[in-house]
């Protein structure tokens, strides 16, 4: 069956895309220590017409940018942190705990802040209607969760391990298994959307989205650690993934004052 729409990018082979990835990687000067993905990364074909071509304009944060939206208990239900109990039955797949801390660039915990995740099911299928991958939907799995960090900056989700899935960046393109994370800090400038991966995934070298983070050490920061101490006997495995946001910009004194007022 050929579900792939004809287009120039769909005609590219993995070998061609891998060659592009390797060329960019080979030209990377490790001393520059890039921490973020390239916005202009041609192996990810959807980025071609969607990346800014002009340098980002450096701005000093002002006003609302120095603050973040506030979320609280009224915004979500505690049950939303468990993606395995949102339906009447148990989802298929490897049950696991994913936990970690959200920290700012100074190592302080980001407290009481919203963390949102979304992911494919164990078969690599998203519930999204545009996902036409012919793998089974799981009637017991939506794949969306929310929680608030605690006073230690920790988040914790119970879910199942997502499967890898095919996409149409090029012929026979497969994404490594991942969980999407949406994070807020204490300032709007710290807003981040990212993806968490699993250790040792054989698809890493082939994936243009993972490889768009050109610095190898930076890429490693996207990979969770298997932690046997997080497992629950006869119940679930466990992964740990800490997330560091950029900034902040408000001074330590201002943030401490604010904390003491809360």
């Amino acid at each position: 069956m050929s579900a792939v729409a004809s287009s120039d990018s769909a005609a590219l082979t993995q070998a061609q895309v891998s060659a592009e990835i390797e060329e960019i990687s080979g030209a990377y000067d490790a001393s520059s220590a890039e921490t973020q993905p390239r916005l202009d990364y041609p192996p990810y074909r959807s980025s071609l017409l969607r990346h800014p071509t002009k340098a980002l304009h450096q701005a000093d944060p002002e006003g609302v940018e120095l603050w973040a939206p506030v979320f609280g208990e009224r915004d979500l239900d505690a049950l939303e942190a468990d993606l395995t109990i949102q339906h009447t039955g148990e989802p298929v797949g490897e049950r696991m705990v994913v936990t970690g801390r959200v920290l700012d660039g100074d190592g302080r915990p980001v407290r009481n802040q919203l963390v949102e995740i979304w992911q494919a099911n164990a078969a690599g299928r998203y519930i999204h209607q545009r996902d036409q991958h012919p793998a089974p939907l799981d009637p017991n799995f939506t794949g969306m969760g929310r929680c608030l960090t605690d006073d230690d900056g920790s988040y914790r989700f119970t879910t199942i391990k997502p499967g890898p899935y095919p996409w149409r960046n090029h012929q026979n393109a497969w994404r490594p298994a991942h969980i999407h994370f949406s994070l807020f800090g204490t300032e709007f400038t710290q807003r981040m959307i990212t993806q968490m991966y699993f250790p040792g995934d054989p698809l890493f070298p082939l994936d243009p989205i993972y490889q768009s983070v050109v610095d190898p050490a930076a890429r490693e920061r996207l990979v969770a650690t298997y932690d046997h101490d997080l497992t629950v006997p006869e119940w679930s495995t466990g992964y740990r993934w800490d997330i560091v946001l950029t900034g902040p910009h408000r001074t330590l004194m201002e943030i401490d004052t604010e904390a003491s007022e809360l």
Binding site: R50, V70, W118
Partner: protein
Amino acid sequence: MTLTPTPGQTVGPFFGYALPFPHDNELVPPGTPGAVRLHGRVYDGAGDPVPDAILELWQTDAAGHVVQEAGSLRRDGYTFTGFGRASTDREGRYGFSTLEPGAPFFALTVLARGLLNRLFTRAYLPGAGDDAFLQSLDADRRSTLVTTRDETGLVFDVHLQGDRETVFLSYPRH
């Protein structure tokens, strides 16, 4: 202690069942006295609309105060939280129902399939032309950050690339 930030990644194509929430783009219910519509379209470098983008809005209240109220995800119809989300439709259109901020600009983040990291920008009110930050920009790009007024509110188009490419921001320590 200084830590190295975790990299961002694209929001991907399948956020539509996860990030939107009921009334996400209604910071105030439409029709509320003083409500204004902040709306526009998102375009790619070929001038085609981007149907799979999501924008986030963060702003002061009408008096210019930063709001620190919970309740964005489950709006009660009365509490102004200053935060909202709006997905683009098939024609790349987004819209928020909100209040004109007392501060000179709305802060916006732009997320989309094909965009490997979030982008930050500002949508300034039409009268903000002498703002110091705007004045620091080249005159030919300044207008990309300034809303225009139409019969329903304020218009702010986002051009990810091209001749009219929006000015996107980074901040120190990014």
